[in-house]
């Protein structure tokens, strides 16, 4: 083995500092409480906008699932709506066809089926990159949509499956017309899933994912089972997207084939890019900002909204590659540098 260099005080201190960095990397920092406080705050401050709040939280969850594969593993896909849709339809169909009205278990089943689909699909398509991978993911989502249209007797086609009913949450909380209970339901699910995702991202597995994103060739050379890692994270991400889809069905009591739209896959990617990839909270910032802007501007003028989104994308790519979170981080660094000088 290598000889140990003589350890003087400075050496030991540097070593400890380095160790500390790795050991503490995953600790919770106080700014991380902000998004949750805000979310809870909205519950009390905007009781009449709970239905909208629901959809925002669901999109945050969807964007979070995409961040796992896009931000951390570097997989570029434009077909993630496929898994959202699978979760949505599984949740709808077990209620309609099997009369299963317990929501939480329905949620888990939706997520599980979507996750399994992700594992199978991922096993095939993650051997490829670039345009090939992009087209395969787009084709998969589109195939599901078209197949769903083929059997519109089951799926309700583009008109959808209305009138789903659910038992009260945990057997106790009844749903109200204004979506208050649903909002808290989605928020709790989001928090639980987020906790798991955060653990994954700071784990050695998460480290390996960033390694794959940074230099896949070297990962092969150091013995990493790259394909297995990618399929694993893809399956997990698909499962989470499926949970988001199931929540969509349950909180809207309605689902249509538009959940598989290419536009949906593109939209969630835009949200994530806007917020910033690879940092988990980018999903929050991006989804919330996008949904609010869309809500406001598309009512004003759908054409201006579309132009604005396009312009925003161009500007982000050219000038703010790390998204809003990156801008915030840079501003924060600038501020702390000014303070210390």
């Amino acid at each position: 083995m290598s000889e140990t260099a003589p350890r003087d005080a400075a050496h030991v201190e540097a070593r400890n500092r380095a160790t500390d960095y790795l050991v503490r990397r995953h600790y919770f920092r106080w700014p991380e409480a902000l998004p949750w406080l805000i979310a809870v705050g909205c519950y009390f401050l905007f009781p009449d906008r709970m239905a909208f709040g629901n959809q925002v939280l669901i999109m945050v969850l969807f964007a979070l699932s995409l961040d796992l594969i896009l931000g951390y593993a570097g997989i570029v896909t434009l077909g993630h709506a496929a898994f959202f849709g699978i979760g949505a339809y599984v949740a709808a169909l077990i209620t309609l066809q099997l009369g299963w009205e317990e929501p939480i278990s329905g949620l888990l089943v939706g997520g599980l089926v979507a996750g399994l689909a992700g594992m199978v699909v991922g096993w095939f398509v993650l051997r490829y990159r670039g345009l090939t991978l992009l087209m395969l993911t787009i084709a998969f989502a589109a195939t599901l949509q078209e197949s769903g249209n083929l059997r519109s007797d089951i799926t309700g086609g583009y008109d959808g499956l209305p009138g789903l009913t659910y038992k009260p949450l945990l057997g106790h909380f009844n749903y109200d017309l204004y979506g208050h209970v649903n909002y808290l339901y989605v928020l709790v699910v989001l928090a639980v899933v987020f906790y798991f995702v955060r653990r994954i991202v700071y784990s050695p597995f998460g480290q390996a994912l960033t390694g794959i994103r940074e230099n896949v060739q070297r990962m092969h050379a150091v013995g990493s089972p790259v394909h297995r890692r990618l399929v694993t994270v893809y399956a997990i991400s698909a499962g989470i997207a499926g949970i988001a889809g199931a929540l969509f069905t349950q909180t809207n009591a309605y689902v249509t084939l538009t959940v598989f739209d290419f536009e949906y896959s593109a939209k969630v990617m835009v949200m994530l890019i806007l917020g910033g990839t690879g940092r988990l909270y980018g999903a929050f910032i991006g989804a919330v900002t996008y949904m609010f802007m869309e809500d406001y501007f598309s009512k004003l003028s759908p054409t201006f909204w579309q132009f604005g989104i396009g312009l925003m994308l161009v500007l982000v790519v050219l000038f703010a590659r790390r998204g809003l979170l990156g801008v915030i981080e840079d501003a924060g660094q600038l501020f702390s540098r000014r303070k210390s000088s």
Binding site: L78, L131, A142, T143, L318
Partner: protein, 290 residues
Amino acid sequence: MSHAAEIVVSILFDGLAYAMFLFITSVGLSITMGLMGFVNLAHGAFAMCGGYFVVSLTRSLGVPFVPSLIIASVAVGVISVPFERYLYRRLYKSTDLEQVLLTIGLAFMAIATFTYFYGPIPKSVPLPHWLTGHVNLGFRSFPSYRVFLIAIGAGLIAVLWYGFEQTNIGAKIRAAVDNRRMAESVGINVDRLFTLTFALGSGLAALGGGLAIQLFGLTPSFAVLYLVLFLIVVAVGGLGSLKGTLLAALVIGILDTGGKYAFPVAGNLFVYGITVAVLLIKPAGFFGRE
């Protein structure tokens, strides 16, 4: 002619016309992606622009259809040059994702702009007399417009083939697609080559857009609606390959037409099925490299 044969001929004919449209619009995308590795999702927007130019030229300025096609193609080709030199060029070394996002952003901006000026209602073009109606090719008569489309497609294929295989410029493009570094080191000005190819590809896309009006009607959403289809043709055919784009266009054009006739409920299932099947067996497409 027996009934079954009639149907087959119809499907082949319509499929061929559709394939020509796909080829004309997609070939530019395939060559530029193969040449520069740049994912240009604004390609559909160039096609859409071409279509609207033709609409304005024919309706507002009274220019006849065929000259309008030519003018529109050249105009869009010329307009695409500053985009390439001042915007796209900055991203040649960027990741695929960044290129995708930038060009989708441009496409959205284009759609919104054209919606503002032309409105969302589908437009049509006034055709010259000889393009409406039918043409008798001996054993059957066919719609003149589609015959025209096939003729243009065939002519373009011949011109492009000659250009690629027999001219100096074509050789340079093929060399640069094959191995850019090597091409640069033997003195080929790849930057200028790309601007030229990009302009040509965008011009052809505009031509395709103009030709598509009669087939599908024109709305600003054309830019993204058909984008996935163009990407499929390019991916299935193989980046940077003229042969590949043609073969993919034919396969998709004919099988999609046939599939929609036999099983109309299945919609686009055939196209996506072909895509998945080809890409899983040959991930680089029919004639793609590696």
